[in-house]
Amino acid sequence: MSERYKVLGAMLALGDFTVPELTQYSGVSPHTVRTVVSRERRNLKPLGIEAATGRGGRFKRLQVQPAQAESIRQELNELYRALPRESTVPGQGTESQPVPLAILAAEDALIRRFPQAGAPEERKHLLNLAERVWQRYCSALPEEDLPSTTRLYLDSLDGLRKLCSAELAATYEPFFSGLAFDRAKESMRVVAAAFKRAGQAGHAAELLDRALASSAGSPSPEIIRSKTTEMSESLEHPEVYVREAAVQAAATAASASNASRQLTSDIVTRLLQDSDPVVRRTAAEVLGELTYQDAAVEQALTKAAREDEPAVRSAARKSLAVLEAHSSREAVAQALETA
């Protein structure tokens, strides 16, 4: 399975290839490469025959049929999840594994580079890079398989991503972003405390400094509730960061509002219909925090828990678990009252 994964990956990486090139790129034996190529022949397009340099005869140059690339990508994803986890450093246990460089790079990008980046396009690019890394590591492995330090850094990356997203949103729509700031800062505070507990006080301080460098006043839930038209517009805003902030603002307003039903419905709509997985994930997260719940919320979360995007799926499952625990507690409380 691991060898098939490597050969299929090499096919996508090279674009066009011969068997020796696949062998070299994948590090898999020529015999196995030929077997995989033979099995995949219907997905491959011959581009011609060329002589090998030096000894070794003639080789077909092949290319993945463009229409088949997506199915290979899907198979790669499935194979990757099923691959046995290897220790990247021989002899080291999972817990002592170093944090992947990609996560460190993404974290550094958001702590130091993002505030220095001038144009919104540069900021968006850094944020997208960091988002991709977060998704990659969160979705590639079950949470329990991640070393605890890596999990901590991923939590940090998520908090930073939310903070930066709120900062970007503020450049378009400052009003609702204040709430997103508050939520992001709270995430950062929790993560910083975890770093402190893990003996990384220096890094904890760095995260807090970054969070505190963001200043935005948060409007009260009452004021937010009075801005229903603006909120609806923000929930439909073309910028994903604004929609993400608006979803969080809607959740805050819904938690203490007569209009909970409408606001909750707006969030459910974002969860089911928003084109961007970041907004859908945020919607899935906040639905688990709402005091007002109805069947539509549970149905939407159940649907989201089966969607393709791993980050949304994971957030929806967590929220469903929270709702279930909440229902159980209420049932117990009711039973106790009746008794």
Binding site: S2, K6, G9, A10, L12, A13, L14, G15, F17, E21, Q24, Y25, G27, R73, L76, N77, Y80, L83, E86, T88, P98, V99, L101, A102, L104, A105, A106, D108, A109, R112, R113, A117, G118, E122, H125, L126, L129, R132, V133, R136, A140, T149, F195, A198, G199, Q200, A201, G202, H203
Partner: protein, 401 residues
Amino acid sequence: MASASHISFEQRKGLAVRLIALPLLHQHEARLLQVGAQNGLQWLRGEISYLAGQAIMSPPGEHLDSNLKDLAKTLLTASASHLTGTFAPRFSPLLTQLTGHMNALSCCTCSGSPSVCEGGQNDDALVAGGGHCIGLLRQLFDVALQIAQDAFHRYLPALSLPAVGFSTAHWNKKPHDIPVELYCGGSTAFANGGNSVVQLHLTPAALDWDTCLACLYVLVHECFCHAFYGARNPSKREEGTGNDDPFTEGWMDWLAHELLLKNVYLAHGLPASGTEFASIATIFTEARSQYTLDGSKPQSTYALSRFLGKEAAIKMHGLLKRLPESRAGALEALFRLSCDVLAEGFPLQKHEAFVYEVNMGLPSPGGQEDPYQFEEIPRSVRMYLINNKLNTLFPMISPAS
């Protein structure tokens, strides 16, 4: 055009003493230690430091060569009373060489005219034209520049390189925060006419032999990683990309070290072996990017940037070893690609984006890709190798902007 600045006349008097003495002390050290003359050697080192201090405090109007001659006499007198007994003859060749070199330095010969350094405004021009008092440093700079120029000529033969001047600056403390006891650092500035000026930062009071050796690495770093930045448009260069640029400070530095290791053995006339220069360079470059995850704050402010840049270069090298177009000469391909990126003169943000993309988009050498790491970067790099166009390398570093 104004001459590149240099360490002040007074400080240069002291520096000259050290720069003459340190290679000779190193040259004779093993022989003297072998016969058990460590006490005498220690005394001599102390005496050289004392004389260097005396030189700095000499009358302002006294010429550097006159001062050196006086100090040579002082050294001989002091040696006669301190280096006595059975070891005295052992020191004789060293003392002869030391005083010989001190007496041989002539400011008039250096300047080629009766006009010599006197602590005035003309000094920088005189040092730029001759600089015999800092001859060792100039020699190291010439070697470093040659190494860097050869590399750029080899990998980008059509590129016209800007001229590179040499400058020195005095520091009272260690000129960097890297956790290593080497008292030299550097910077590169771009003059109005498009030329580059590499400045060597030195702490003369702490100058020792290891620092002298480290100067070569520092100068190779400055010449290779910075001097040709934006060489395609040298007249438009205003400033470098800063100390926190992961590309120049980490990625290119990793290559600068590789370059030095490959070439230092070919350099002639250096006062130490290639192995000595190479080992100090390795210590320095590793200390620069020392970054751990044990929770301690890195001692060097920019350690993480350098670490990320270096690791990205290593990842790219790993990719180039696997691609059909570059696997036979992966390191050469990496040099070419890197010189190409540097010569384009991208702003810091693009250098950063490049390094981040590589770190996120490629596995560590020997590591397994995740499904997202197969396509984007390998394909872009392969296309670059085929058509040599930077804008195919990564959309984020397209030269279009």
